[in-house]
């Protein structure tokens, strides 16, 4: 009963007849569309579109009928759609009434042309500038809130701050410790391998001490925290934004920056230096065990060499950077969270963006610190 949809052109004396047959349903629309496009349509004639052979018709089929009719009329034919079953009439009428028209053909996507490429480059540049500006604005907002709060320090939410410290610091200890330990092991192994050629393997300890304390410990901790807590900040605040919880805070007379941002910023600024110290210790431990294993430098000898290699400042240079990195990570995380609009889709997108941005900014800040320290001859 359900025969394939088809259409035939028949010359019938003076009239030109298009005879449609079969089930004009969406499942057969593809082949039927090809068949219709191949038809050689006449122009300036009387055309009859005969639907007598059509046993089933759905929206897709009805659209194809209408499209054919429109195409014929566009070529100056007078068209009569005949033998329409009464049950199809409402559908055709409704489609006609709603003015179903062919969509405009998709233009070439603009970014595929050279001008389009330039335009996109400009767009991205201004977008980045605007985003930087907005982020700076957010930083300013946070600082004014801190300044306002310093008059009434009682309003700082201590409980929330401690909760954040636990989640971002204490809970991150296993992963930070583990990774620092492993990096220490790898550094020691590679350093020993290279330095042995010069008979200078004892300097592996100096290499370890300086690189871990000054750079690796703090960078590693900051990057792990950016991935772990920065993303969490964006997701938490973003979900609240989707749920209109941020709006609810406003209407209840609470300042979202005070309630949500400051505990996160302060919490992270307090915990990251501690985490860095811990990462330093674990990294050195890993290095120490590895040098013992490969070079036979035992623990007292290691410590002895280390004492000669580093000063108190070497440790401080790493730790001092931590609060700044913490501020960057937490503020970027919160800022992107507030940027979430409407859909669940944007929470995911902005979470990714927040992690990428905060790691980028942390490394830029680290480079800036290096320049600063070299100017200060530390």
């Amino acid at each position: 009963m359900a025969s394939a949809a088809s259409i035939f052109a028949v010359e019938d004396g003076r009239a030109f007849v298009l005879r449609a047959e079969g089930s004009w349903l969406v499942g057969d629309a593809g082949p039927l569309d090809g068949r219709l496009r191949q038809l050689r349509l006449p122009s300036g004639r009387q055309v009859q579109l005969d639907l007598a052979g059509v046993d089933r018709l759905d929206t897709a089929g009805a659209w194809l009928v209408l499209r054919t009719e429109q195409a014929l009329e566009a070529r100056g034919n007078t068209v009569a759609v005949t033998n329409v079953r009464p049950s199809f009439a409402p559908l055709l009428a409704q489609l006609r009434e709603h003015g179903a028209v062919s969509p405009l053909p998709h233009p070439i996507p603009p970014h595929h042309t050279f001008i389009g490429f330039l335009a996109r480059l400009g767009e991205v540049t201004t977008m980045l500038a605007r985003r930087g500006y907005a982020m700076l604005g957010f930083g300013g907002l946070v600082f004014t809130t801190i300044a306002r709060l310093s008059w009434r320090p009682g309003r700082l939410r201590l409980t929330a701050t401690f909760v954040q410290m636990e989640q971002t610091g204490l809970d991150a200890m296993p992963i930070v410790g583990m990774l620092s330990f492993l990096v220490g092991v790898v550094m020691a192994y590679q350093g020993a391998d290279q330095l042995r050629r010069f008979g200078a393997e004892i300097y592996t300890v100096n290499l370890l001490g300086i690189s871990i304390l000054r750079e690796l410990g703090v960078l590693l901790a900051a990057i792990i925290i950016a991935g772990r807590s920065g993303s969490a900040f964006t997701a938490q605040i973003g979900t609240m934004q989707v749920n209109q919880e941020i709006d609810a805070l406003h209407t209840l007379g609470l300042d979202p920056v005070e309630v949500l941002v400051l505990p996160r910023v302060f919490g992270l600024m307090l915990t990251l230096p501690l985490l860095v110290f811990y990462a330093d210790a674990m990294g050195l431990l890993g290095g120490c065990l590895m040098t013992w294993g490969t070079l036979g430098i035992n623990v007292p000898a290691f410590l002895d060499q280390l004492r000669g290699a580093i000063t108190m400042w070497t440790l401080w240079i790493g730790v001092i950077k931590a609060p700044f990195f913490a501020a960057i990570i937490s503020m970027v995380g919160c800022y992107e969270g507030f940027n979430v609009t409407g859909s669940a889709d944007s929470v995911g997108r902005l979470t990714t963006q927040s992690v990428v941005e905060s790691i980028f900014l942390v490394i830029v800040a680290d480079a800036a610190f290096s320049i600063l320290f070299s100017l200060l001859h530390i």
Binding site: L25, V26, G27, A29, G30, D33, G34, D55, R56, L57, D58, T59, A60, W63, R67, R85, P86, S87, F88, A89, P90, L91, A93, Q94, L95, H98, G99, A100, V101, S102, P103, P105, H106, T341, G342, S343, A344, D345, S346
Partner: protein, 272 residues
């Protein structure tokens, strides 16, 4: 399609659903005839949406049989289930549009999946559906987040209609719409039913919708369903029925429904 006028498209027999200790449906029976609009009502938490989810294969019932279009929904293999799913369309409460796709792309998802066809024809059919549900043409390129609630529902309806289903399931189609938009939506469903020959299964709280477009009303009380026309329900002495169909809101809606009853066309047209 062919068959007697009262042939049954959905048959639920002895349905039982439970969430842990809580029994939602207990021996529920329901029959839906081809070409009718059936409205399911009941108090909050009475299991209307659960019933809908059981019928469309999203929540496995604990006992009982569910036949849709002559197939047992819960005893089908993968391929047969896909085949059956093509023949119904579902509009979820807030449209459930894919938020990363434009309206046009949303409508094209089922087309792309089930009916291979040239991209241009797909665009044409999607444009058709957009026009059919009364959305402005420009909304095709918009993302769901850029649309109002009412427009999202229309877009969801367009996606549900993409494959010209035989049965349309609607979960609270007018919830969250203003009265004008809700009335328009009711009329749209009435029109579509007339032109596409749809069977419509709708879960609703909206009394106006019930009075305006439903042929029969299924009432979910005491874990079972009682089906009847509005006139029958109005006479039911059960206190819940009295409260539901004779409350102040119901009376207002009934008056409005009676006033609107004349212009509504007898929607008997069915596609052969």
């Amino acid at each position: 399609m062919d068959g007697a006028p009262d042939d049954i498209v959905i048959r639920v027999k002895g349905l039982e659903t439970r969430f842990g200790q809580q029994i939602v449906h207990d021996g529920l029976d329901l029959e839906v005839r081809r070409g009718e609009v059936i409205g399911v009502v009941g108090g909050s938490g009475s299991g209307k949406s659960v019933l809908l989810r059981a019928i469309i294969g999203l929540k496995r019932p604990d006992a009982g049989e569910i036949d849709v279009l002559g197939r047992e929904v819960w005893r089908l293999d993968e391929a047969a289930a896909r085949e059956l799913e093509r023949r119904w369309g579902v509009l979820f409460q807030d449209g459930a549009l894919f938020s990363s796709l434009t309206v046009m792309q949303n409508i094209e998802v089922p087309l792309r999946e089930h009916c291979p066809m040239p991209a241009r024809l797909m665009d044409e059919i999607a444009t058709c559906k957009i026009a059919l549900v009364g959305l402005p043409e420009a909304s095709g390129d918009k993302f769901p987040a850029q649309l109002s609630g009412g427009m999202r529902k229309r877009a969801g309806l367009a996606r549900a209609l993409a494959l010209d289903p035989e049965i349309l399931f609607l979960d609270e189609p007018t919830a969250g719409l203003d009265p004008i938009a809700a009335a328009e939506f009711d009329r749209l469903i009435g029109d579509l039913k007339a032109s596409l020959g749809l069977t419509v299964f709708l879960v609703t709280h909206d009394l106006d919708t019930l009075y305006a477009i439903c042929d029969r009303i299924a009432v979910l009380v005491d874990k079972r369903i009682r089906v009847g026309t509005l006139a029958q329900h109005l006479q039911d002495p059960d206190p819940w029925f009295q409260a539901y169909f004779h409350g102040p809101r119901a009376r207002a809606a009934l008056a409005a429904g009676a006033a609107a009853a004349q212009p509504v066309a007898p929607a008997g047209a069915r596609i052969g």
